[in-house]
């Protein structure tokens, strides 16, 4: 790890200003940044610590929305009673992520900017070729071990999975992220790799995420995050799904449904085709199964990751079933 200078930012503007310098990096919880510095992927000259900036840690839940400051810790958001009540999938996506120690350190802003776990990206000493790390250098994952690589949203230049859990739940419920005076949908915040996999988001240099907002909705309130992996805890998703729905007054027909996928795509993946196929329908086993298969439209297997194409729709089915059961138990009748 290279020696770097440490600056404690006193205001967001000053932090932004400082972050514009070459070799500057913003430090929040540090669980991604320090990890990458140890791998030799990040080599900041200056680290700008924003964790002391005031006013960026609040969690405010109103009837319309939850607004969460960029510096709120993962664990604080996960455990927040109003988040749990109004946005269960968001809370679950956080508590199923990483480990207790990491969740206590890591921030919401940092979480959105976590980097891929592609082993080739993380080992520059051995695998110089990585378009994400060194644009134009090639992709070492092609022809390598791809068990955890994406099947959706890939390009010939990069098939790295976006590993985050929270962002999946955020994308499902039309959350927005604010930075540098702008507010964009989380879904639009992330970019597909295309031929510029190094550009993962629309965040500009020196721009600082100030917070996120999740609009309240019946679907968000009635939601679930299901994460499937070999190890019971402390592992990234083999496949995950954030699902929420609202039923018509008949208690059967789907009025609104949100489905997003994690662990299978190069960005948090909203499965709109699945949603469209279910709106206006009842959630019968056959309908749900058929619709869930649409989640994999356009999926491309690359060697070892083919199982994800089989697995992900099953995760969607189960998430919908579990949520339907929960809904039925709450409303007292089986849908």
């Amino acid at each position: 790890m290279k020696d770097f200078s440490y600056v404690r930012a006193t205001s967001a503007e000053a932090a932004s200003q400082a972050a514009l310098q070459a070799g500057a990096a913003i430090l929040a919880g540090g669980t991604t940044l320090l990890d990458l510095a140890k791998c030799g992927v990040a080599a900041p000259e200056t680290v700008i610590d924003i964790t002391h900036l005031p006013g960026l840690s609040d969690i405010i839940v109103s009837a319309d929305a939850a607004t969460i400051g960029a510096l709120a810790r993962m664990s604080e958001v996960a455990d927040h009673p109003s988040i749990k009540a109004a946005f269960p999938a968001v809370s679950e996506s956080l508590s199923l992520a990483a480990s207790a120690q990491l969740r206590n350190m890591a921030t919401i802003g940092g979480n959105l900017l976590q980097r891929t776990r592609c082993p080739y990206f993380r080992d520059p000493g051995t695998f110089p070729a990585c378009n994400k790390r060194a644009p134009g250098s090639g992709c070492s994952a092609l022809g390598g071990v791809t068990r955890n690589h994406a099947v959706l949203g890939t390009s010939e230049h990069c098939l790295a999975t976006n590993p985050g859990d929270l962002a999946v739940a955020l994308v499902a419920f039309d959350a927005t992220v604010s930075f540098a005076g702008k507010t964009v949908l989380v879904e639009d915040f992330y970019r597909l790799p295309g031929d510029t996999p190094d550009k993962e988001t629309v965040l500009g240099r020196g721009e600082i995420i100030t917070g996120i907002a999740i609009p309240a909705s019946a679907a968000a309130k009635n939601s679930i995050y299901l994460k499937v992996r070999d190890r019971q805890s402390y592992e990234f998703a083999a496949a995950s799904a954030a699902v929420g729905f609202e039923l018509e007054a008949d208690g059967k027909t789907v009025k609104d449904i949100r489905v997003a996928l994690g662990g299978v795509a190069t960005k948090p993946w909203r499965a709109r085709a699945v949603e469209q196929a279910l709106i206006g329908k009842t959630l019968s086993a056959g309908t749900v199964e058929k619709a869930s298969r649409l989640a994999m439209e356009g999926a491309v297997a690359q060697g070892d990751n083919a199982y994800k194409i089989e697995l992900a729709p099953r995760v969607v089915v189960r998430a919908i079933q579990q949520l339907a059961l929960k809904t039925a138990m709450k409303t007292g009748g089986l849908a």
Partner: protein, 763 residues
């Protein structure tokens, strides 16, 4: 410098052998007060960082160190260009060293991740950054990725591992029912919580090394041979070890580099092997493949076992992960044939990892037995009991003790095996398929001599002194218990000193042999100390016992009295004062009387020359176990969770059941990892282990582990050890993976014959 772990009172259990005392050093560990090797404050210490190869095979043509050398704080860069002046060391077995130079940073690259250079700087960060700036040019040559690489070939037959009796091929051909299957296990790693590393310090020609060690004397010898020093000039200090599992029994190339650098610089050098580097600085468990054919009569009497195994080794040394190690001892069989081959591939030489050989071996035979049970339509428990081995068919010798039948029956009763339904996929709970499986395990009793010293101090405290080590398995505690029982002194009056090669000699903490060996030595020494003390009390002027006319004395609860307690009664401190003694020091070993020369002792403590295998002598001696596992498999996701385990063990007498149970459970937990998660993943293109970190190489977390019920069914085995125990450290992992694989088959109807059982193999 030696760490002494004082015993504080506070455990209600009695201090005798067999008492459930908590670990003496537990408090130090959980409060962070225990000092591990790299935490020793050493004045003027500088830091070494390794540079490892990024290709699988070839030659280092040039190492450009110009940028690294120019970095601030950099003191020294070592590359294959530097002759460090080292000589080859002898091996474990005690074979004399070859008369040749040793290059810990060789030019010849034989695997990806081989150390080829090192940077030493004032700070670790400076050294690490400079190491990153070194550029190496290679001349690459063809490499073999792993056992399954078509270029790997058939390897080399290990003649000494060919075992046979009867006519297995013919008996197999004549059997009513046969099964044949091939089983695979991947590369697995120790991933001890404490990574490897050391601090090396020279004072003149005296070398002190702080390094986690499973064998302080053996490691001291190898360092001495590398650096052409007399053995007594090298001191290894290792009072606490953060897990070894077989990886910390000998010095490794990085150790030679650090010591050489310290010598060149005239300053102490600290070298911390990074977590990724831990995956290639020493070998984990070799990948294996074994084909097993079983033949049986219609009613399930085993007729033949034919076993053909392979394990990978490196291209520069032979290491056999003996896939046939458990196969011949588990069942009664009249016709047996086994062969094992080793296949050189471009990896670091594999090494011993908890239960070497026995572990993959039991995965093979115990999976095959279950396959046979299904071919016969027979309950797998019944099949095992039906073919119970009344003696060791391989050696022809009787067992010393073998309570595997009790392990199977008592384990089955505790598990509720009789409620099992035989058909696969016949037990479910919603989307979850439930399955039950059995796996038996075994581990040989390996015996070795040890030495110990007992010091009785003027203040009445007793010190037990040994160069053996405690890596968490309980040596500190059981040695106090052993001395307490033999001396009649309460454990809270006993201090134990361990983990220093200057202290009396000891067997290695490996092969599950240490506890049996070192308790024997401490027991012998304590009895001698007691005799000596009583002799002095009866004969010395000043002793109130001199004129009592007694010809012996009793020592109990720390007091010395007449046998019928009808006269003086003195505490140890009072007696020492009366005798006018500062200390009474007794040293004994368990070498035979005709092997007490200095050379005998050197060989005994620093090599494996005096180690005895399980069938040396009249009996065949082993620990045994039977694991019963319940798994819950999500039928849509293929995820396997172990929901319940009962394991019954025959390990003879337990010196401290609390610690034994934690050894067993630790082994079982590692077995769960082996069954479901652990696998070194290698990129075929360059032989790199790409999941070389604990984020990606998965071991079980707490939530992967259910309640583990462990049961002891053993009886004391006085042929196995002085106090009647058999090894407990390794047997626990043996048989877990097949129990789980068998349970997965029972749950799903899918037989997974290559570990780990990850979700994509089941969906």
């Amino acid at each position: 410098m030696t760490i002494m772990v004082p015993r504080k009172h506070g455990d209600a259990s009695d201090g005798m052998v067999g008492g459930r005392l908590s670990r003496f050093e537990g408090n130090l560990k959980v409060t962070g007060a225990a000092t591990y090797a790299l935490e020793y404050p050493t004045e003027g210490v500088v830091h070494a960082v390794l540079v490892q190869s990024t290709i699988a095979a070839g030659k280092v043509v040039a190492v450009d160190i110009s940028r690294a050398s120019a970095m601030p704080g950099v003191l020294l860069v070592l590359t294959p260009e530097d002759d460090l002046g080292l000589r080859a060391a002898g091996d474990w077995a005690g074979t004399a060293p070859k008369d040749e130079a040793y290059y810990p940073l060789p030019r010849n690259v034989q695997f990806n991740g081989q150390s080829i250079a090192a940077v030493i700087a004032e700070s670790r960060e400076q050294a690490a950054e400079a190491a990153r700036l070194i550029t190496v040019s290679y001349e690459e040559t063809a490499s073999v990725k792993d056992l399954e690489d078509p270029a790997a070939g058939e390897g080399k037959m290990m003649g000494n591992l060919t075992v046979g009796w009867g006519d297995a091929e013919a008996a197999l051909a004549a059997s009513d029912v046969t099964i044949e299957a091939e089983y695979r296990t991947p590369r697995e790693y120790h991933v001890a919580m404490e990574p490897h590393g050391l601090i090396a310090r020279w004072e003149g020609d005296q070398l002190t090394i702080w390094e986690p060690s499973q064998w302080s004397h053996g490691m001291a010898r190898m360092y001495a041979e590398w650096f052409s020093l007399p053995l007594e000039n090298v001191r290894i200090i290792s009072p606490f070890i953060g897990g070894g599992f077989g990886s910390k029994g000998q010095p490794l190339a990085f150790g030679a580099v650090a010591v050489a650098a310290a010598k060149k610089l005239g300053r102490p050098v600290k070298l911390a092997v990074t977590r990724p580097q831990n995956f290639t600085s020493y070998g984990g468990r070799a990948a294996t493949r074994q084909k097993i054919a079983l033949g049986a009569t219609k009613d399930g009497i085993l007729q033949a076992i034919v076993h053909r195994g392979y394990s990978e080794t490196s291209v520069y040394a032979d290491y056999a992960e003996q896939t046939g190690a458990a196969t011949p001892v588990l069942y009664k069989v009249e016709n047996y044939s086994s062969e094992h081959r080793i296949v050189p591939v471009n990896t670091v030489t594999p090494g011993a990892l908890r239960g070497p050989g026995k572990n993959p071996s039991s995965y093979g035979i115990e999976s095959a037995m279950e396959e046979l049970a299904y071919a016969l339509g027979m309950d797998p428990l019944e099949l095992r009991l039906k073919n119970y081995a009344d003696h060791d068919y391989q050696s022809g010798k009787p067992w010393s003790t073998r309570r595997l039948r009790e392990a199977l029956t008592e384990g089955a009763a505790a598990f509720g095996w009789e409620k099992r339904s035989h058909e696969p996929r016949s037990m479910r709970d919603g989307n979850t398929l439930i399955g039950w499986g059995i796996g038996c395990g075994t581990f040989p009793v390996i015996r070795a001599p040890s030495e110990a010293m007992i010091r009785i101090l003027k203040n009445g405290r007793v010190e037990v002194v040994s160069g053996s080590i405690d890596m968490g398995q309980g040596t500190y505690t059981i040695l106090a218990q052993t001395a307490s029982e033999a001396l009649g002194v309460p454990v809270d009056q006993i201090d134990v000193l361990l983990g220093d090669s200057r202290l009396p000699g000891s067997a290695i903490a490996g092969g599950s042999m240490l506890a049996g060996s070192i308790t024997g030595a401490v027991h012998k020494t304590a009895v001698a100390a007691r005799d000596e003390l009583i002799g002095l009390a009866l004969s010395e002027a000043g002793s109130p016992f001199r004129d009592t006319g007694a010809n012996t004395l009793s020592l109990a609860a720390g007091r010395v009295s007449l046998p019928r307690d009808d006269g003086p009664s003195l505490s140890l401190a009072e007696l020492m004062t009366a005798l006018g003694r500062d200390t009474l020091e007794i040293r004994r070993n368990t070498l035979s009387d005709d092997a007490q020369t200095a050379e005998d002792q050197r060989r005994a403590w620093t090599t494996m020359a005096k180690v005895m295998g399980p069938t040396m002598g009249e009996f065949s001696m082993h620990s045994w176990c039977a694991h019963f596992a319940e798994v819950r498999v999500d039928e849509d996701f293929g995820t396997v969770r172990v929901s319940r385990m009962v394991s019954a063990f025959d390990c003879g007498r337990l010196y401290n059941p609390k610690m034994v149970e934690s050894q067993w459970r630790g082994g079982i937990i590692m077995g769960v990892g082996q069954a479901l998660l652990e696998e070194g993943i290698v990129d075929a293109r360059n032989g790199r282990t790409i999941n070389n970190n604990v984020g990606d190489y998965l071991v079980p977390t707490n939530s992967d582990i259910p309640d583990l019920q462990v049961i002891s069914v053993g009886v004391p085995d006085l042929n196995a050890s002085a106090l009647g125990g058999k090894g407990v450290g390794e047997v626990g992992i043996v048989g877990v993976a097949p129990a789980i694989a068998n349970a997965v088959f029972h749950a799903t109807g899918k037989r997974v014959r290559d570990l780990p059982i990850t979700l994509e193999k089941l969906i």
